[in-house]
Symmetry: C2
Subunit: 389 residues, 2 copies
């Protein structure tokens, strides 16, 4: 199978490429190194050192014999996507190439606009490239569980039966995202649903939980690492908590820490995406998967990192709740459904505590790099103060 | 009150300016004449001749003594909106300055992208300009009933109570728009709802039905006309049907003509917007109005135009259903609620048949202009064939 990965240089893109090569698929990819550049702009860096794309591709060639056809370019530029799709004629395109930081999108109008435009335009470009060049190819698009927000009812996988004034319909679940970034994912989902309706494109729209971890089986086998961000703009809760524990910094949940989200390990994220690739949607199907293993409150995760760290090292870790820079419910009902991937054969492979233990060990080897970033870990980007400058 | 109108040169923008001047409000406006230019690009023109903005402003000054502060610029350029808002310090900004044609958005990737980007970015610019400069000002944003699509249940005004798996929440109604243009309005609504949540901006989001007509009381009083489009890209169903009847062309509903939509006259549209201006939302309120009078199927409208035309002129009019260039249900349930404006005091002032009679008379005076456009009235822009070129 020919698998094209938009955002192949990223946290998920790179280990997905390694997995698809291991599966014997032909892998190509596009990236413009947006994340590398923007992470440096906030004086941060991947805590796990990563090679250049050129070196990554050479290393893959050496270790596996596989070639990766790489295209350097911005997927918000239509000709970049269209030309690559024309050349590769992929069976599936996995779209991971969007600006992925909620805080970045909330810095101010400029970043809000850039996030909105780049993310939406990249998906439009992909829709038209697939429609006109390889109309039977599968679009596998990364969304986020954050599209749903935290409604006071169960969250279905994309669609649900609605009763209103005595009549019924099967409708998309109403979305209530919590940042401009999260809204771009909602807008993308809506645009994909429409593209499916007009042109019957086969689409998988993945509502993914928060991904954590430093390792996958393919990373372990090849030794080719993926990036790992811990700063307030580009890092995510659990990854950041582990880094804080390792560096002897307080673990800092935002606000009360009752915010509850779905989480899954990097290994399981890659397995879910790979399963979606190997079992594509039916002709003309638009399917939505909620992709996560368990839901935890941010406070539960902080406590778990503290426990595992203290157990593994014998040292003490401190939790310090800090003012929440976001506008979000800090105590709420949360019960999203996630059956579809399990029905297709997905099995959760990693226990959260074991994964935290591995992360802590991996990060301990880079403690000086984490300490050098201690200024950019604490939250500075506040939703309320996002402005025109 | 200081009223700023984005898109003051348009079909609705101009008569709204006349109304607000008549009400004694101070009126300012922004426009970049996008619609004038794009209409000419499809070899079309407003059937009712309209003056340049300069002449419009001079005529208003002569007839009413009022000054309109006009800013020529693109509202997708942040400094255009921010500078005008800083200068005017408006109490309300009415946002009518978006690309408003569904067929235009479906021509191909370039037009889809332009519609998506310009519409979304203009609303983001307005959100930030209001937030940072006049945070208590009212944003009155024009959306469309087309955001809801045609679900098989009643359509509430924006929000409804949802029961699912034994629990309840009050949620935004799921949207299912039918073109890239209509989706931009959904994305705008979502972005406005979020802006209200984070910054408590006071917002009215108007889900407006299809507007028809050539006249308002203010147009009659001042003699200052508004544009009237009839081509397949920029015209809307009822306006186009009237022009076809006048020119002796067949009236052409798309497909079976069972597509049902909410409609209202230009006079009533202006009255609803004026009512929303004079009764702004509460501090921190995001309110959604469904703004239309009656819903009709396209076939009912075609028959009504035929009847009125034959009654008024004694000549025959022919209805000819043509293949539907759109992807839409041609027979469906349709029952949207529209109580909120009525509860605020709005009363329907025009009867559809009377309004059709006036339109036919107005258009008869420009029969040669309509005949010159006969090539651009028939549908060419097909949803299915929208492509990368």
């Amino acid at each position: 199978m020919k698998v094209m990965i938009l955002g192949i240089d990223g946290y998920i893109g790179w280990p997905l490429a390694l997995r698809e090569i291991e599966k014997g698929n032909e892998v190509s990819g596009i990236d413009n190194f947006f994340t590398r550049r923007r992470v440096r702009e906030v004086n941060s860096d991947s805590v796990i050192p990563i090679s250049t794309m050129q070196k990554r591709i050479s290393a893959v060639r050496e270790k596996t014999g596989a070639r990766i056809n790489f295209y350097r370019g911005d997927v918000a530029n239509p000709s970049v996507v269209i030309d690559a799709v024309k050349k590769e004629k992929p069976d599936v395109v996995v779209h991971l190439a969007e600006q992925r930081s909620a805080p970045y999108s909330m810095i101010g109008l400029k970043q809000a606009t850039q996030t909105m435009v780049k993310n939406i335009v990249s998906t439009l470009n992909l829709i038209y490239a697939i429609k006109d060049v390889v109309p039977h190819a599968h679009i596998l698009k990364l969304g986020t569980m954050g599209e749903y927000g935290t409604p006071n009812i169960d969250i279905p996988e994309g669609f649900f039966e609605v009763q209103y004034n005595g009549r019924k319909d099967y409708l998309p679940f109403p979305k209530q995202a919590g940042s401009w970034y999260h809204w771009t994912k909602v807008h993308d989902s809506n645009n994909l649903m429409f593209a499916n309706r007009v042109w019957r494109l086969g689409i998988t729209d993945v509502m993914q939980g928060v991904v954590y971890g430093t390792r996958t089986t393919d990373i372990n086998r090849t030794g080719l690492r993926t990036r790992f961000d811990i700063d307030e703009v580009w890092g995510t809760a659990l990854n950041r908590f582990c880094a804080q524990a390792v560096a002897g910094l307080p673990i800092t949940p935002y606000g009360k820490g009752g915010q509850t989200r779905g989480f899954l390990s990097l290994e399981d994220s890659i397995s879910c995406l790979d399963l979606s690739i190997s079992k594509p949607p039916a002709e003309g199907e638009y399917r939505v998967f909620n992709q996560f293993d368990e839901h935890y409150s941010v406070m539960q995760l902080a406590q778990m990192v503290k426990e595992v760290f203290e157990h593994d090292t014998g040292k003490e870790a401190v939790i310090r709740n800090v003012p929440n820079p976001r506008v979000e419910a800090e105590e709420h009902y949360y019960n999203p459904e996630h059956k579809k991937l399990a029905e297709m054969g997905y099995r959760h492979s990693r226990e959260l505590k074991d994964e935290i233990s591995i992360m802590l060990e991996d990060l301990a080897a880079h403690r000086p790099r984490i300490e050098a970033l201690s200024d950019v870990i604490s939250p500075h980007t506040a939703w309320k103060s996002s402005g025109i400058n």
